[in-house]
């Protein structure tokens, strides 16, 4: 059995700071990291590996420096890591990204003559783009079913049972035969830390395979900016509005003024 885990390198801060004076992003000293939910995906794959001996493969599409996160996943215990990197992949939206990832999965399946017995795990969403689209689009490209927003998984023989959250007060327990793609939530598990020997292995013995567009035999029309259907038209910092009514004076005055205003607004 094979488990593919798709991971993404994201900035290691939850919000990017902006220099209001120049209107530019403050990028200095922002390191990259594995997208948090992708770590839960890695942990799930590794725990299944411990029980079943499955072969766990991590994939990432990104610039050459994304190799760092694949090294980290190798240190956590992943068997093989692939970095899909090519200038031609740049500027990809989710449609183009999922196509590129699907090519790598198909290539690995073909090379290892595995066809049905596999699971794909993705984090439910990335903290930078926040789209939650690559997982379902990848499932569609691979023509396999999907279960999104998963918070618990059990694997038995060739099927999985997953708990998925579609309503805030309900959990749906869903059963599905392999192959299937699942997207996982943070509450699924607690990701392990790399061990010392894991780190040594990751840097001295294991390798991160680099594949470019040619290696994947990619259709140029479907990758990168060319393969993207959405186009960034405009990027802007939300306008500042500074017309609020400032209430000042003693604490009592302020409280009185506010209540008076709210009465005028017919709220009180």
């Amino acid at each position: 059995m094979k488990i593919f885990v798709c991971i993404k390198q994201v900035p290691a801060i939850s919000e990017v700071k902006i220099d209001r004076k120049t209107g530019t992003l403050v990028r200095e000293g922002v390191p990259g990291m594995i997208n948090p939910m992708d770590k839960n995906a890695l942990e799930l794959a590794l725990s299944i590996k411990e029980n079943t001996g499955a072969d766990v493969i991590a994939l990432s599409m990104g610039p050459p420096q994304a190799e760092e996160i694949l090294r980290e996943s190798l240190a956590m215990g992943i068997d093989k890591a692939y970095l899909l990197t090519d200038r031609a992949f740049g500027g990809a939206d989710t449609l183009a990204t999922s196509y590129t990832l699907s090519l790598a999965i198909k290539k690995i399946l073909k090379e290892t003559e595995e066809s049905k017995n596999y699971l794909v795990v993705c984090g439910a969403q990335a903290i930078d783009g926040d789209t939650a689209q690559v997982g379902p689009e990848l499932a569609e490209e691979l023509n396999i079913p999907q279960i999104t927003n998963v918070r618990y998984v059990e694997l038995s023989e060739n099927k999985i049972i997953a708990e998925s959250i579609f309503q805030s007060d309900e959990i749906a327990v869903i059963e599905c035969k392999l192959p299937v793609l699942i997207t996982v939530l943070k509450e699924l598990n607690v990701p392990r830390f790399p061990t010392i020997s894991g780190i040594v292995d990751a840097f001295d013995y294991k390798e991160v395979v680099h594949w470019n567009a040619k290696d994947l035999d990619a259709d140029i029309q479907k990758i990168g900016l060319e393969g993207s259907r959405t186009q960034v038209y405009k990027i802007f910092i939300p306008p500042q509005k500074n017309e609020y009514i400032k209430l000042s004076g003693t604490i009592e005055d302020v409280a009185k003024d506010l209540c008076q205003k709210l009465k005028e607004d017919k709220i009180l």
């Binding site: 900035p11 919000e15 902006i18 992003l25 999104t148 609020y244 409280a255 209540c259």
Partner: protein, 405 residues
């Protein structure tokens, strides 16, 4: 597409460097130089250049699909145990506005099992037509059925715009449909409009980079233009006098055809807090200081008959229940009055409250971004101001009582 810099004309003024949010351009040898690894070809530098030395070239061939065949705005509805979700009405309001600008019909698509009685009234919220796909299986959500049915309907009717709620369900089926149709999908939009220039392109605005920056996205060369929209961004429209055309399609699905099988549904026995529908919300953030201090927020909320909420920080510090979180990763709310106490107002928080009628901000930092969207602002110590407001409201109530007496 590619960006070319004319080194002859470039004066090395650096305007382009300041305009680039991605650090994709730099000065080299006194002239602007592109860093292709970082450039996303957004074109901001092209506009910023005062001497026109930066040119963006669109080498993309026009896609073959005939865009003019696609007409109409669609909304894909969602229900919970056959009760139509509130955000669907909000989307109908926005959809109506877009359809009017484009002079086309607004259609609502519903998949359910017992929605027959609800169909008529949907016209009052702006739908010209309702297409209802009916099957006992559709009481529950099945990814595969939604994807297959909606894709087939889109291929048959060719709408130009398809709007879906950015809920766990909408975000489950919409990406697969967009992939099958090879069209663009913009996630979790907070604003929608029609481009004034092209007159037909949907402008889809969403927070990006964790929320500090807004991006407007277009889908110029494929159809339909699809987006998922964050619930709570638009107001439920006023009812109008309108009867929709209704088309009912009997779905002939069998459970055995579906690869995912719902074994059971477990109720999460939590009392639902309905922040989304609260009239008044009082919220606390980092400035509250401790879990105990939240009492002053609760006291004020009690006096105002309001719901209590918190910012992401307040939730992460364990001062308040995660279900009461307001903002991008929490709830998006639209109360008549929102009182933000000790909340600095990161954009993630702001997008969650923008639809509030009146926003009161109480913060000791006069430069806190929350004041940018406040209607009334109090710069001061919330630990003193909030109890004073509570006392004043109490006093007013007493006064009222006396007057009535």
């Amino acid at each position: 597409m590619s960006i070319k810099i004319d080194r002859e004309n470039c004066t090395g003024c650096g305007s382009c460097i300041n305009s680039c949010l991605y650090g994709g351009i730099t000065l080299f040898d006194g002239k602007a130089k592109l860093i292709p690894e970082k450039c996303i070809l957004c074109g901001a530098c092209v506009e910023a250049c005062p001497v026109g030395a930066i040119i963006i070239k669109d080498e993309k061939k026009e896609k073959k699909i005939d865009i003019s065949q696609y007409k109409g705005v669609w909304i894909i509805g969602e229900h919970y145990n056959n009760k139509i979700k509130n955000y669907v009405y909000q989307l109908l309001g926005k959809g109506r506005e877009l359809a009017d600008k484009l002079k086309v019909e607004l259609t609502l698509i519903l998949l359910g099992s017992e929605l027959d009685e609800n169909l008529e009234e949907l016209g009052m919220y702006g739908a010209d037509r309702v297409i209802y796909v009916k099957s006992p299986l559709l009481r529950n959500y099945y990814s595969e059925i939604y994807v297959n049915v909606i894709t087939d309907l889109i291929i048959e009717y060719k709408p130009e715009i398809v709007l879906v709620g950015a809920t766990p369900i909408g975000r489950d089926f919409a990406p697969r449909i967009s992939k099958r149709l090879q069209t663009g999908l913009t996630a979790d939009c907070t604003g929608l409009d029609i481009d004034q220039e092209t007159r037909n392109l949907l402008l889809q605005t969403r927070p990006t980079f964790g929320g500090n920056i807004m991006a407007t996205i277009r889908t110029p060369n494929s159809r339909p233009q699809m987006s998922t929209i964050r619930p709570g961004m638009f107001k439920v429209p006023k009812k109008m006098d309108k009867k929709p055309k209704i088309k009912i399609i009997e779905g002939k699905f069998k459970e055995s055809d579906i690869s995912t099988n719902i074994v059971k549904i477990i109720k999460r026995g939590k009392k639902r807090i309905n922040l989304e529908e609260a009239q008044i919300v009082v919220a606390g953030g980092r400035g509250i200081g401790s879990k105990e201090n939240f009492k002053i927020i609760k006291d004020l909320a009690k006096e105002l008959n309001a719901e209590v909420a918190g910012s992401r920080v307040a939730v992460e510090l364990g001062w308040i229940d995660p279900e009461r979180q307001v903002g991008q990763t929490g709830k998006t709310i639209s109360p008549r009055l929102y009182i933000a106490c000790g909340i600095s107002g990161a954009i993630q928080h702001k997008v969650g409250i923008l639809c509030s009628d009146i926003i009161v901000a109480i913060n000791k930092d006069p430069n806190a971004p929350i004041f940018e969207i406040a209607h009334y602002g109090i710069v001061g110590d919330l630990h003193k101001v909030v109890p004073a407001i509570t006392r004043e409201i109490r006093r007013l109530k007493e006064e009222e009582k006396v007057r009535k007496y």
